[in-house]
């Protein structure tokens, strides 16, 4: 069983469109949408929910005003400025529990709120594990770890070959949770100066967590000079550029139709994506390649 994560640093570079196409091309796999606070993969894969589970987030403080003597100690010790006028701001509270431990009249309890849901679903492409984090909730990394653990459990039970994770943008907590322990990170980069800047940062994160990298330049013809710059950079840093996908409105048209682009048209984009999956699957199965990369 091999685990792929599709990442980008910068948002909107085409991670979900690409993952949906891999869903169509790969055999014997499970799909995971790790972008739990802006999940979109379900819009293309049209899941039928088989199992709905609650996600319980991190604890937050709750003050019992009946017991509270307004001594002020909790407000004084809270480093997150989460208590004002003896009311806890649930969004600011980081759940450390110090207030509840030191309250002289035991007026503060720690409660664990329900912070979202996660689902095991069937799609015509196989099982999809996805989630919906509650609006303004914390602990997206914890939720990502939870759904990835469940994907591994299903993959082992059903003897699947691949786990394909659609990752979130950025480099912070949910990205780290999506990346840890994966066999390969496919980085989808667009040839803009922002894309290049963000690309260098996501590479840093992948290296920090020792996950091998492969690159796909998306919409490469929007700025060919920048695309060359990305290729030079990858060449100098021993990173394989596995595909160059041109800009094509068909990609957006496919999203509007609710289809993976490889099922919508047989254009150059589709050809490149098919070739890319070939290269990615070979790399995933090449354990020696992984060792050499580390």
């Amino acid at each position: 069983m091999k685990e792929l994560v599709v990442l980008s640093g910068k948002g909107g570079t085409g991670k979900t469109s690409l993952t949906a196409s891999f869903a169509s091309l790969a055999k014997n796999k499970i799909l995971v949408d790790c972008d739990v606070d802006a999940a979109d993969l379900h819009l293309l894969l049209k899941p039928q929910i088989k199992e709905e589970n609650e996600f319980w987030g991190g604890q937050v403080a709750f003050i019992d005003r009946g017991k509270c003597t307004e001594c002020g100690l909790c407000q004084e010790v809270c480093r997150f400025e989460a208590i004002k006028d003896y009311v806890v701001d649930k969004i600011s509270c980081e759940g450390c529990g110090l207030c509840s431990q030191i309250c002289p009249v035991d007026a503060i309890a720690m409660r664990v709120p329900m912070a979202g849901h996660w689902f095991i679903s069937e799609t015509e492409y196989g099982t999809l594990i996805h989630a919906k984090l509650g609006i303004a909730e914390e602990n997206s990394g914890k939720l990502v770890t939870l759904i990835r653990d469940n994907a591994r459990r299903v993959a082992e039970k059903e003897k699947l070959d691949y786990i394909i994770n659609d990752g979130p943008p950025g480099i912070g907590c949910p990205v780290i949770a999506s990346l840890a322990g994966a066999n390969l990170a496919l980085l989808v980069i667009e040839p803009t100066l922002s894309g290049i800047h963000d690309f260098e940062r996501i590479i840093g994160v992948c290296r920090h967590f020792s996950v091998p990298i492969m690159v796909c330049i998306n919409k490469y013809d929007v700025n060919e000079e920048n695309s060359c710059h990305i290729e030079d950079y990858c060449h100098r840093n021993d990173i394989e550029v596995a595909a160059r996908i041109p800009f094509d409105n068909a990609v957006t048209e496919a999203i509007v139709q609710g289809l993976p682009v490889v099922e919508y048209s047989d254009n150059e984009v589709t050809q490149q994506v098919k070739k890319l999956w070939q290269v990615v699957s070979v790399k995933l199965n090449d354990q020696e390649g992984r060792d050499a990369n580390l």
Partner: protein, 282 residues
């Protein structure tokens, strides 16, 4: 006034809007541009200004005085983040798990725990004409963006118009970035992905009670469902930017829209006036 620029979905054009709005306003007013997308801060690429100051963002993490420590284990028990483990004759601290709450040092009966700063990012500032620029940068490998965002926002000067560039998504870094805004611009693209994420961003603004308006970028792709949604929700569409290869090319080169296509300046000034009216009316 504090105007934040958010989106839900990534890559819809927040940076394009934030930089052009700041530049358009700076002709006549003192402006602050705060890049709170601290995981991937990109505004600086468009502004071409020199960063002249940089401060570290530190989280206080525990340091154990092993002479005073009796290995009672209270600190490990108090730490909900599992950042401390107490063995028979050794205390292990995992600084990357620590949120800096201070519970361990507060509750240690032997006063054996002091705190030392651990750098998790930087806040950088620079200036260009009437624009004061502040950006946060999360250090590579660090998970927590909110402490950096909080430090960026400490620079907000109420005497200036503040534009806050927000990270994508709808979870804690976004909440931290948009908190206390007078108005939030939601930049979207008219596709099912854009609409799905826009609707989540709208829910977030409702929850935080922040007035918002929509900017449709790459207008012309996708379908008409986004406009229908805004109409149904009673959210004003304040600007439409068409899908245009020339605009995409300018963005790819790090050229602000209103500099590459000066005709757009008027639209951004009008956008601001529109927002001012909405905020004053409420």
């Amino acid at each position: 006034m504090i105007i934040s620029v958010a989106s839900g979905k990534g890559g819809t054009g927040k940076t394009l809007v934030a930089t052009s709005l700041a530049l358009a306003l700076s002709d006549k007013r003192k402006v602050q541009l705060l890049d709170c997308d601290v995981e991937e801060p990109d505004d600086h690429i468009f502004l071409h200004l020199a960063i002249n100051q940089s401060e570290s963002v530190m989280i206080p993490v525990p340091k154990i005085d092993e002479v005073k420590c009796t290995y009672c284990g209270k600190c490990a028990e108090a730490c909900v983040y599992n950042a401390i483990a107490v063995l028979k004759k050794k205390v292990l601290v995992f600084p990357e798990l620590c949120h800096g709450c201070g519970a361990c040092s507060y509750l240690c009966p032997e006063s054996a725990i002091s705190e030392v700063g651990r750098q998790v990012g930087v806040v950088e500032t620079g200036e260009s004409g009437n624009i004061e620029f502040i950006q946060g940068r999360l250090a590579i490998g660090e998970p927590m963006a909110p402490p950096i965002i909080r430090d960026v926002k400490k620079h907000i000067d109420r005497a200036r118009e503040a534009i806050v560039d927000v990270p994508p998504g709808t979870s804690c870094p976004v909440v931290e970035a948009v908190k206390n805004s007078d108005f939030c611009l939601l930049v979207t693209e008219p596709t099912p992905f854009g609409l799905n994420d826009l609707s989540m961003a709208v829910e977030l603004m409702k929850k935080l009670r922040i007035a918002c308006g929509v900017i449709i970028n790459r207008d012309g792709v996708g379908d008409g469902k986004t406009e229908q949604y805004c109409q149904d929700q009673g959210i004003p569409i304040l600007l439409k930017i068409p899908l245009d290869r020339n605009i995409a090319r300018l963005c790819s080169k790090g050229v602000p829209l209103i500099e590459g296509m000066p005709d757009w300046r008027k639209a951004f000034v009008a956008l601001f006036q529109n927002i001012e009216q909405i905020v004053t009316a409420s």
